[in-house]
Amino acid sequence: MADNRHPPVTDFATDFDHTDPTWVNNPFPIWDELRATCPIAHSDRYGGTWLPVTHEHVSAIAYDTENFTSRAVIVSEVRPGPMDLPAPIGVAPPITSDPPFHAMARRLLLPAFAPRKVDALEPFTRQLCNDLLDALEGKDIVDAAVEYAQHIPLRVIAKMLGFPTEDADYFRHVIHLILEEGITVTEDDDERLVEGQALDAYFDNQIADHVANPRDDLTTFLLEAELDGNKLMHEHVRGTMLLILVAGIDTTWSAIGSALWHLAHNPDDLKRLATEPDLMPFAIEEMLRAYAPVTMARMVAQDVEIAGCPMKEGDWVLLPFPAANRDPEFFDRADEVIIDREENRHAAFGLGIHRCLGSNLARMELRVAVEEWVKRFPNFELADPSAVTWAAGQVRGPRSIPVRLPG
């Protein structure tokens, strides 16, 4: 948010920008107002972008894979270029893939993220959380985002892929470039090209190492996988690695951070969670609903009219699942966080064929991270509410949460 290069927004109904500091700090009032006035907004920014904010419209577009392509899912000034793999595969399959290729690429990965596979990672995650918490003991003020939340998915994903955990700083750098600087690997200016080539070289090294020393991890799994009787194209393997790094880290880090931020300034909820552990599954889903980190995007595949809006081929469409999750037409008391909410059909992990592939993993990490934190620090509070900062872009979560630990 510090380096927003776009002019400030004065009217979100006609000129919205999801990287504007007002949106980054608190998007909920913007969505509430749009929902009441014009449920699908348009902006000329990024070469033309649409913004549905009701559950009805967000879900209709998520389900409509004929009129909306996933070929690019991060809104930027640059649309997919000649360096991209052609549709329907896209840069990072299967998130950037359309039917029918999508189903094959997804089916390949689903077993690696199915509940029982994820359950096997829970002891590792719990130990990791406890190691991080041990390092916080005895301190007065700590940063729950920097010193705790961010490390959890970084290390879990590195373990899954079989990448060295020492490279965590590099992963953070790459994710920041892609998600917050709006960089895509297809951009053609020099700095971006160099970054893209460096990342490809990093993946190539990991692939070579795994070819020489196969082991029980996701990289070896991808190298041995077959699609229609053929090994995956090299670019497909690299693209999927990119997807897992980008989609698996910032998102979960954001979800863990938002939950801890909420508990740090809602002592009643914190107390209930600390004393009524049976509430945890419902509380976790409610945190996911109220603070869903991920806004997806689509491109209009062919001219189409949605709710009277003339969408043109090539226009961007933001898919703010966090806004759908706050729609009062769909949820009772949508703007309140109710940690024992039992009926919660939230869309934090998307809807339709692109349901977050890693949702079981993310949910496990979030639950374990909150359980272990609350067990260790049943009393903690925001040290300085004004010092909390939020990530800009399509993944929203706190990047700094200074909290005071009980002495």
């Binding site: 993220f113 509940p115 889903e285 992990f349 949702s359």
Partner: protein, 64 residues
């Protein structure tokens, strides 16, 4: 009471499986399937209704 998962609609959110593992299982891809032909044992009706009410894809239905 019986529960039914529409395999065409299920996208593997696993909300039903985590809320009511007595009534649902998941396959290797993470998609849900009913246990016991969908028959809901006495006492688990509330869990069955919770599974229905939490499925983001409206994939689960109940027949009495």
């Amino acid at each position: 009471m019986r529960v039914h998962v529409d395999a065409e609609k299920c996208q593997g959110h696993n909300r039903c499986y985590s809320l009511a593992p007595e009534l649902f299982d998941v396959d290797d891809l993470g998609n849900a399937v009913e246990l016991n032909d969908g028959n809901v044992p006495e006492g688990l009706e509330h869990k069955a209704r919770l599974a229905v009410a939490n499925c983001p894809e409206y994939a689960i239905t109940i027949s009495e």
